[in-house]
């Protein structure tokens, strides 16, 4: 359990870190695009395309760690009014529901990736194939499944979320 936990935590955090790093890259690209546009009167060829495609993967990369940290927005109003067992059951149900939703998302995102690849959709300017980007997003959502499975098991066993450490 500890071993798997360590792998999942490291893996998901690294993914999130890389996602945000690419976000910073997109920001930098945007700055470069503005500068080039101001100086030469023309934007960087394909900057828009690149940013749009990268964004898909960046956002998808944020989810596994988000799940591992169990930081979704919840209303814990009745937590104080019911017993610990009821609380635990509710939390387990909540995590199961989350797992179900992510399973559906991963499945249908894969279908979308298959469809987009199959019809050879390309980006507007650079004519890059769009399919691989959606495949990457689908893979990232599949990576959410073991993460959420872990959370469900941890919740059943009554373990708290992984502590914040840097």
């Amino acid at each position: 359990m500890h071993h798997i936990e360590a792998i999942l935590i490291r893996g998901s955090r690294l993914t999130a870190f890389l996602g945000a790093l690419f976000l910073l890259l997109v920001a930098g690209l945007s700055v470069a695009d503005i500068l080039v546009r101001q100086i030469t009167g023309r934007p960087i060829h394909g900057a828009h395309d690149t940013a749009a495609l990268l964004t898909i993967v960046i956002v998808a990369a944020c989810f596994p760690a988000g799940l591992m940290e169990r930081r979704q927005i919840k209303v814990t109003l009745i937590e104080a009014f019911v017993g610990p067992l009821a609380n635990r059951i509710m939390r387990i149900i909540g995590e199961l529901a989350t797992g179900f939703m992510f399973l559906c998302i991963a499945w249908f995102l894969t279908q979308h990736a298959i469809k987009v690849s199959g019809r050879a959709e390309v980006s507007m300017i650079l004519h890059w194939p769009v399919g691989p980007w959606w495949w990457a997003a689908a893979v990232l959502f599949w990576a959410c499944i073991p993460a959420q499975l872990y959370v469900i098991i941890a919740e059943i066993m009554g373990r708290a979320p992984a502590a914040e450490e840097v």
């Binding site: 996602g19 945000a20 997109v26 927005i73 919840k74 209303v75």
Partner: protein, 437 residues
């Protein structure tokens, strides 16, 4: 069964799930899919909503502004800009009675202009200004109350994550919303300052005055604060001055905040890691919520419930003002229970059609909505800003913070009344600049 009744049951199911501690995005998503499948008679078809909505949202350029503004806020925090802004405000008004609390409001407002979130503003300012106030014998109530209340400025003062979200959900121009929020934000700052002045006048002990800073100290604060001012100037100037689009201003802001943190040597490996991880984590939280909300909105729309509601409320012959006041009351109650983004996305599917039907301005309504749900950030039992401060101050009683923030809630409700009575405060600049609606 009438579809709209299915819609009503769907809302009840969603609320039950939310109160059972299911994450709000998940509760909305699942309740939406189930409602949709009952109305349309196909569970298989409605499950695909999970796919189409996720595709739509993670590929949306409008929503991509949110992670960028989050990134800017993270780097601004790491780069120590909040401290600079606080000291700058302090050097101007620190010497008056309650001056440090006022400087806190000023610092919050300044930081709000480079950060899109209320929680981030409250938490950084807690770190920066609370120790100063405590060391000058400020009452715990005033100190924590002013940070909690000041934090709410973070999302009223542009850039604001929640205004972006409102714009995306209701198809309004984000820039127009930002401009509309400007004067109400000024009013908010003014009323908060007045509140502090009144409080310390009635009870001098609450916030003793500090020493008057000389000009060289002000100069030093200015010199230290140049980076924060530059960032504010570039981001707001970019948005309002027409050098780049709102999307680009978010990108420029994020990159510039990164550069500032880097050049100041604040960007240790740990800080860098933290800033990026924080951004990623909040991004996933917000997107999950938006995906769920969007699925739920489908279901509610297909059920025809908004139309039934609009017709029903119309039939009562209630004047529009009453409808607005009742909605405000509803948001105040919701704000007590839900966090801000939740109460907005949960209610948007029925409230927005109603407001349009009554002929109210969607931009004005956006500002009003942000203001009323931002009050929810500081009202019990669930006041996110209060929680954040409490989490950072283990020894302070939560009741102390809530009683400290109470006078500010009064001020906020007065401001709400002013904006309802005088919509021009929100719309004047929009009309003046001839912005698209």
């Amino acid at each position: 069964m009438e579809p709209y009744l299915v819609g009503v049951i769907g809302i009840v199911v969603m609320l039950v799930m939310i109160f059972a501690q299911v994450p709000i995005g998940v509760a909305m998503g699942i309740a939406g899919v189930v409602t949709f499948s009952v109305i349309r008679g196909s569970f298989e078809a409605s499950l695909t909503l999970f796919g189409t909505e996720t595709v739509g949202k993670i590929g949306s350029p409008e929503l991509a502004i949110i992670p960028l503004f989050l990134l800017m806020g993270s780097f601004a925090t790491v780069g120590g800009l909040s401290g600079d802004l606080y000291r700058l405000a302090q050097s101007f008004i620190g010497h008056v009675r309650g001056g440090l609390a006022m400087a806190t409001i000023g610092g919050c407002a300044g930081f709000g202009a480079v950060c899109g979130s209320s929680i981030a503003t409250a938490s950084t300012m807690t770190r920066v200004s609370l120790p100063e106030m405590m060391s000058r014998n400020y009452s715990e109530k005033l100190a924590t109350g002013s940070v909690a209340a000041g934090g709410t400025l973070g999302m009223l003062i542009p850039p604001s994550i929640i205004l972006v979200l409102y714009g995306v959900l209701t198809e309004q121009f984000v820039k127009t919303l930002f401009v509309a929020a400007l004067l109400p934000a000024v009013l908010a700052v003014a009323l908060h300052l007045v509140t502090i002045a009144v409080l310390v006048r009635r009870n001098t002990e609450m916030g003793p005055s500090g020493p008057r800073e000389n000009w060289s100290a002000t100069g030093a604060a200015l010199k230290q604060g140049w980076a924060a001012i530059l960032l504010m100037f570039v981001v707001t100037g970019g948005i309002y001055g027409g050098i780049f689009s709102v999307n680009e201003s978010a990108a420029v802001g994020a990159f510039l905040a990164f550069l500032i943190a880097l050049l100041r040597g604040r960007l240790t490996r740990a800080n860098f890691w933290l800033a990026l991880r924080e951004t990623a984590s909040t991004t996933s939280m917000i997107y999950l919520m938006v995906i769920g909300a969007s699925i739920f909105t489908y279901a509610v729309t297909v059920s025809g419930l908004p139309q039934v509601m609009v017709d029903g409320i119309r039939a009562t012959d209630l004047p529009g003002t009453w409808v607005v006041l009742l909605l405000m009351l509803m948001y105040l109650i919701l704000g007590a229970i839900f966090d801000t983004i939740s109460s907005m996305v949960i209610t948007m599917p029925f409230v927005f059609p109603l407001i349009l039907d009554y002929g109210y301005d969607p931009i004005w309504w956006g500002v009003l909505t942000i203001m009323v749900i931002e009050i929810g950030m500081i009202t019990p039992p669930i006041g996110m800003n209060v929680f954040v401060i409490k989490a950072m101050l283990p020894d302070t009683r939560i009741g102390t913070i809530y009683s400290g923030v109470a006078p500010f809630i009064v001020a906020d409700i007065i401001r709400l009344g002013i904006i309802i009575a005088f919509p021009a405060i929100a719309l004047f600049l929009v009309d003046y600049f001839g912005l698209p609606r």
